[in-house]
């Protein structure tokens, strides 16, 4: 018989932050710099892009040449984890689908994200069509925090004065790549608005920051940046906050539950160390939860006690509900005019150079809300899959001598084709608003635990008609854009049989909404400050409190909200309320 121990800390920390991504990282940064002693629990290992990034590696430095066998976005991608993690299952209900991407590492998913940094607009916080609940505050109330995030972290873009696509404080943006010039031209003909991209990649020195260097245009933000030229929570928030001396990180700390006392207040956090498999408990005055929308819901639902029988902060029963991801559908092809194009370094930034903010009026459409379009293409570093499926398109255009040829082939002429088609590709992907609905949720699976003995999430998510119609509209738009530029489609065609290429829920990795905020404690789990209605010393700083996501990627709003919540925590501490 061995003795099963729980190692308990005698120290009572001011604040324990669970998670080190955009939300946890920002809260930790703001609090540590305000002199608060912060203990941060991260489920994965330490990660510093300066040392751990695979930036500048050539494809042959990976035995699989960058293939996505082990890492979902390729062997050089920064994210540890993925859709499936050994020993950490999740389940799905009634034949529905939700794919859950987890990145267990310092900085979480921000180490590999696309750095597409969009503010939500006034209509995203207070909707005009009445179809979804409003946020408990307006754009104007959160705007100062978006501004602060822009100044602290930096992003490029252009001032456009589009009402629901608010401008930020922008650095100079990159010019378009060659295929992007073709997109701009065809979009003008097709009536689709295209503007300069908005990415959290610094193209100039950042005021007052000597730790980060401007972008040197390798186009590899997905690998994370050794000179901290892009935003990762690891490089830009957590590591700087550690230097303040006020923030301590415990890595490989997989949180089991938040512990509360008989009055229902949070008193600490219990976790298992993934390396030594020992159980630990830390005590604190305040808990800040930023483990990612679904993981945070899981922790709350698993934190049951006499004071919180339905799980912590869940007297309303909404925890886990209103889960929503962005919609996504894409199409690609090649531009015959770009065959045999002249070579130059076209890497650019690893974020978007151009995009289409939503440009249409829903009154004339058969679905609510909208989507933005992200574009890609050009002479990028080859990796696994290069030239794949060439037999489907190399006979769509005449050969060098103007003659028709047979698709596929081999030998010198095939070898020449790879070179001719190189960089002529163009792709477009829509990212749209999915409506937050109670019926789409995650909950605790009553029958399944992970290898740490922690009950796992079970998902129930179905796309509705409006999301399928939105994907149909995306495909029609993509077809017309490709048609206008004379491009030939090479992706498999999408139609009603595959919901117009609509990706499964979760695939866009913009999942939000599971611990929604609101003024009414019967209908929401946290208040407008992301403070739990049922537990005043518990705050949630990831994307879980989102009431309704716009078509904008979530990160910039997570950062702004987390900063705002951290300032509220500071105020409440002064008043000795937490």
């Amino acid at each position: 018989m061995g003795k099963f121990q729980i190692r308990k800390s005698s120290t009572v920390h001011d604040v324990v932050v669970i998670g080190s991504g955009a939300g946890g990282g920002m809260a930790g940064y703001v609090l540590a710099n305000a002199g608060i002693k912060v203990l941060m629990l991260e489920a994965g290992p330490f990660f510093d892009p300066a040392k751990d990034s695979h930036q500048f590696k050539w494809p042959w430095e990976s035995p699989r040449r960058g293939a996505s066998t082990v890492r979902a976005f390729g062997d050089f991608d920064a994210a540890y984890g993925g859709w499936e993690i050994d020993g950490e299952p999740y389940t799905r209900k009634d034949g529905t689908q939700f794919d859950w991407f987890r990145s267990r590492m310092l900085g979480g998913k921000t180490n590999h994200w696309g750095r597409i940094s969009l503010r939500m607009g006034p209509d995203d916080f207070k909707c005009k069509d009445g179809l979804t609940d409003d946020w408990p505050f307006t754009y104007d109330e959160i705007k100062p925090y978006y501004d602060k995030v822009d100044r602290l972290i930096g992003l490029y873009g252009t001032v456009e004065n589009i009402p629901n696509e608010p401008d930020g404080i922008f650095m100079k943006p990159p010019k378009p790549r060659l295929p992007e010039l073709f997109i701009r031209k065809s979009a003008a003909k097709a009536g689709v608005k295209v503007i300069t991209g908005r990415g959290s990649v610094i193209t100039e020195l950042l005021d007052g920051n000597k730790d980060r260097q401007p972008c040197f245009y390798c186009g590899q933000c997905g690998r994370s940046c050794k000179v901290y030229g892009d935003f990762s929570a690891s490089s830009c928030l957590v590591i700087p906050a550690m230097k303040s001396g006020n923030l301590e990180v415990v890595t490989n700390a997989m949180v089991r539950e938040i512990i509360t006392d008989k009055n229902g207040l949070a008193t600490g956090v219990s976790y298992i160390n993934r390396e030594d498999m020992q159980e630990y408990q830390v005590s604190c005055k305040t808990v800040i939860l930023g483990a990612s929308a679904c993981e945070s819901a899981r922790i709350l639902l698993n934190s049951k006690s006499a004071a919180h029988p339905a799980g912590l902060a869940n007297s309303s029963g909404v925890v886990g509900k209103y889960l929503h991801d962005s919609t996504g559908s894409s199409l690609g092809g090649f531009i015959p005019q770009l065959l045999d194009r002249k070579r130059f370094n076209e890497d650019g930034t690893g974020s978007i150079h151009i995009y289409s903010p939503w440009w249409l009026d829903n009154k004339k459409l058969d679905f609510p809300r909208g989507y933005h379009i992200e574009y890609g293409g050009g002479m990028r570093m080859p990796s696994y899959g290069f030239g794949g499926g060439i037999h489907r398109y190399n006979a769509k255009v005449p050969d060098r001598n103007g003659k028709t040829k047979k698709a596929g082939g081999f030998g010198a002429s095939l070898k020449d084709d790879y070179s001719r088609f190189y960089g002529a590709n163009v792709s477009m992907a829509g990212r749209g608003t999915a409506l937050a609905k109670k019926e789409n949720y995650c909950e605790i699976d009553p029958n399944v635990v992970d290898k740490y003995g922690i009950p796992v999430l079970r998902f129930n998510y179905k796309w509705a008609d409006e999301e399928i119609k939105q994907a149909k509209h995306m495909q029609e738009t993509f077809q017309s854009l490709l048609h206008e530029m004379g491009a030939i489609v090479t992706s498999s065609p999408h139609g009603p049989e595959d919901n117009y290429g609509l990706e499964a829920p979760g695939r866009i990795i913009h999942e939000v909404g599971t611990i929604r905020m609101g003024d009414d404690p019967k209908k929401s789990a946290v208040n407008r400050w992301c403070q739990a209605h049922d537990c005043k010393n518990l705050f949630v700083v990831d994307a879980a409190p989102f009431v309704q996501q716009g078509d904008k990627n979530a990160t910039w709003t997570i950062l702004a909200l987390s900063w705002r919540t951290a300032e509220y925590v500071l105020e409440q501490r002064k008043k000795q309320n937490v």
């Binding site: 308990k8 005698s10 040392k51 695979h54 040449r65 073709f182 390798c218 390396e275 890497d347 570093m381």
Partner: protein
């Protein structure tokens, strides 16, 4: 700071809780409570890799999947697909067969289609020429390949061969163009620090894109 030091710094003490569990349930190879604190970022050649990835790569590299005969056939096919020309070398100059061997272990779903495809090819050649593909003459090999290299012009009975050859073509391209020789052949000139100033002016003009070259 080592993890154990950091635990000390935040004030950990072990508290027995009185809960006992069967020691046999602990993983036998794990010294519980005595795991050295090795952060993933060690700054060495394998920085930025999780332990299981490094172990998996090592294991795959130590295993062998294809037989010598199969490897020889893969090599012949790869060089038929990407031969040496005046611009660059051939697929085998960049060790494409070794790459395919690794991928077959890395993605086990490739194993049956590749092994089965190679056997299909040998049986076809045996019936036609009385020899395996590798032992057939160059002219015979080309006759065979011509029958499976053009997916939109397939004789009945050749469909499986076409599917196999499509796969071989894709794997060969992946293997060749992800090497230094292949990348130089393509003329990719990135993966270096630089300042992006947009598409060079002469190229913008060539395509008549001046009015769109804006931010």
């Amino acid at each position: 700071m080592k993890r154990r030091d950091s635990l000390k710094a935040i004030g950990f003490t072990a508290v027995a809780t009185g809960i006992f569990i069967d020691a046999c349930k602990q993983p036998a190879d794990k010294k519980v409570g005595n795991t050295p604190a090795t952060p993933a970022s060690t700054g060495d050649a394998e920085a930025g890799r999780e332990k299981f990835e490094i172990e998996r790569n090592k294991r795959l590299l130590s295993e062998k999947f294809f037989t010598e005969n199969e490897m020889a056939t893969l090599a012949i096919l790869a060089d038929i697909i990407i031969p040496k020309d005046d611009k660059s070398g051939s697929a085998t100059d960049t060790k494409v067969p070794d790459f395919i061997e690794f991928m077959a272990k890395d993605m086990p779903s490739l194993q049956v289609p590749l092994r089965g495809g190679l056997r299909w090819l040998d049986v076809q050649c045996l019936n036609r020429f009385g020899n395996s593909f590798a032992d057939a003459t160059e002219a015979q090999r080309l006759e065979m390949v011509n029958d499976i290299a053009y997916p939109e012009d397939v004789k009945p009975g050749m469909e499986q061969g076409v599917a196999f050859f499509n796969r071989m073509r894709d794997l060969t391209a992946s293997g060749f163009f992800t090497t230094e020789m292949g990348i130089n052949d393509l003329g990719y000139v990135g993966n270096v620090t630089n300042v992006w100033k947009g598409v060079p002016e002469d190229i913008v003009k060539q395509y008549g894109m001046d009015q769109y070259n804006i931010v």
